[in-house]
């Protein structure tokens, strides 16, 4: 016969904030012990004993909790636990401490532009982009670093380039007549790489007479 039991403990797997004004946490359920199991996220703010429940389980999809502007503070740590419950018992995830400023995963860079330029007869790609519009890098308080990847259409491997804080980059040693794909991503000082930007395609003219 089928064995029933209390749920296995869930695991809080990831919390991310795009711009330090909101943030989302995701968890991985454990086994449900063969019974209908519900999950709830609870959190406590630093130096406060009050326990709150997740304000919004829906906006960010399944097994997630979304904290909007009013629920998000950069001034205190969040101590977060996920609880799985079924008819035969409950299981608590390990609690996790979250500082919103350190979980930033920005949106990708924008306005990616690639143009073919020439240097003493040799073509090279001039790549430029803008930071994600929500990131106020002009004030000098937020520092983003960038990384590019480039590849020929027919190849599988990307060539990676760290661009530091630059918002432009030159790619040399191009294949004559090659069709290139270029993407860029960004990362704050203490944070996570964004997703890759949309791809920009560019064709390098034939400059070798084979």
């Amino acid at each position: 016969g089928k064995r029933y039991g209390p749920p296995e403990k869930p695991a809080l797997t990831r919390c991310r904030s795009p711009e330090k004004e909101t943030f989302t946490c995701w968890w991985e359920p454990g086994s449900d012990g063969g019974l209908p199991t519900t999950h709830a996220l609870y959190y406590r703010k630093e130096s406060s004993e009050t326990v709150y429940e997740c304000p919004d389980y829906h906006t960010a999809g399944e097994n997630s909790c979304f904290f909007n502007k009013n629920d998000t503070s950069i001034w205190v740590n969040y101590n977060i636990t996920v609880v799985a419950t079924n008819a035969l018992g409950r299981a608590f995830s390990d609690p996790v401490d979250i500082d919103v400023v350190y979980i930033v995963k920005p949106n990708p860079p924008e306005k990616l532009m690639v143009t073919v330029m020439e240097d003493k007869g040799w073509p090279f790609l001039r790549v430029s982009w803008e930071p994600p519009h929500k990131a106020d890098t002009r004030s000098g308080w937020i520092t983003l670093i960038y990384e590019l990847r480039v590849k020929l259409e027919e190849e599988n491997d990307w060539e990676m380039h760290l661009a530091g804080q630059q918002k432009m980059f030159n790619i040399f040693s191009l294949r004559s007549g090659g069709k290139y794909l270029v993407e860029v991503r960004c990362k704050p000082d203490h944070g996570f790489w964004s997703e890759w930007s949309s791809t920009s395609y560019i064709k390098v003219p034939d400059y070798f007479h084979r």
Binding site: C15, E46, S47, S73, I74, W75, V76, N77, D94, P95, V96, D97, I98, D99, V100, V101, Y102, I103, D136, S139, W141, H190
Partner: protein
């Protein structure tokens, strides 16, 4: 298990860094707002722009140069910053309400920026409240600086603009004081991170 560098409590140096970033933004916003407002007046108009009275925060004794500022204790600097910020809670509501009917071509831009100002001011206030809890009793004291200007900033078009401009110029100056005090505190707190100061 922690996600992000800090566990249990956010260090004071981190909080001061974030507070300085917010106060920097607050002052920059008040500066662009001043330019938005000035864009309507010819330069001459600005010079003659009367100052109807003293700022409602002028009774608060604050340092007026570098030597004096660097001699103020950390908790007193924070108390000054908090007192100034708290003093603007009500007048910002007045500015926000009167911005909606301001006889100025850039009225809607000004109105939106005042809302943004209120948001940043609220967030900074939350941060300073938490900071003061970590910096000793003297940092908790808040000088009372009541705003007695009332909700109405004038009947006719000119007095509305003059009073709005005056109130904003007071906020601009006080937000610069707040910003300066927090940045001095920040560099005192980051002895371990010299390259940012």
């Amino acid at each position: 298990l922690c996600m992000g560098a800090a566990c249990s409590a956010i260090p004071i140096s981190d909080l001061l860094d974030r507070a300085s970033q917010r106060s920097d933004k607050l002052h920059s916003l008040s500066t662009t707002l001043t330019h938005d407002l000035d864009s309507h007046f010819p330069p001459i108009g600005r010079v003659i722009m009367p100052r109807p009275s003293m700022c409602h925060t002028s009774s608060l004794q604050t340092p007026s140069d570098k030597e004096q500022t660097l001699q103020v204790s950390e908790s007193d600097l924070l108390s000054l910053a908090r007192s100034l910020l708290h003093a603007w809670a009500d007048p910002l509501v007045v500015l926000s309400a009167s911005a909606n009917t301001l006889p100025h071509p850039a009225q809607s831009t000004i109105s939106n920026k005042i809302l943004e100002l209120q948001e940043h001011s609220k967030s900074l206030g939350d941060g300073l409240d938490i900071l003061s809890g970590k910096m000793g009793p003297a940092a908790q004291t808040i000088s009372s600086l009541p705003y007695s200007g009332g909700n109405d900033i004038g009947q006719d078009r000119i007095s509305k603009l003059i009073n709005f401009n005056f109130l904003l110029s007071c906020f601009r100056r006080d937000s610069h004081k707040i910003d300066s005090f927090l940045k001095v505190l920040r560099c005192r707190a980051t002895k371990s991170l010299p390259e940012t100061c």
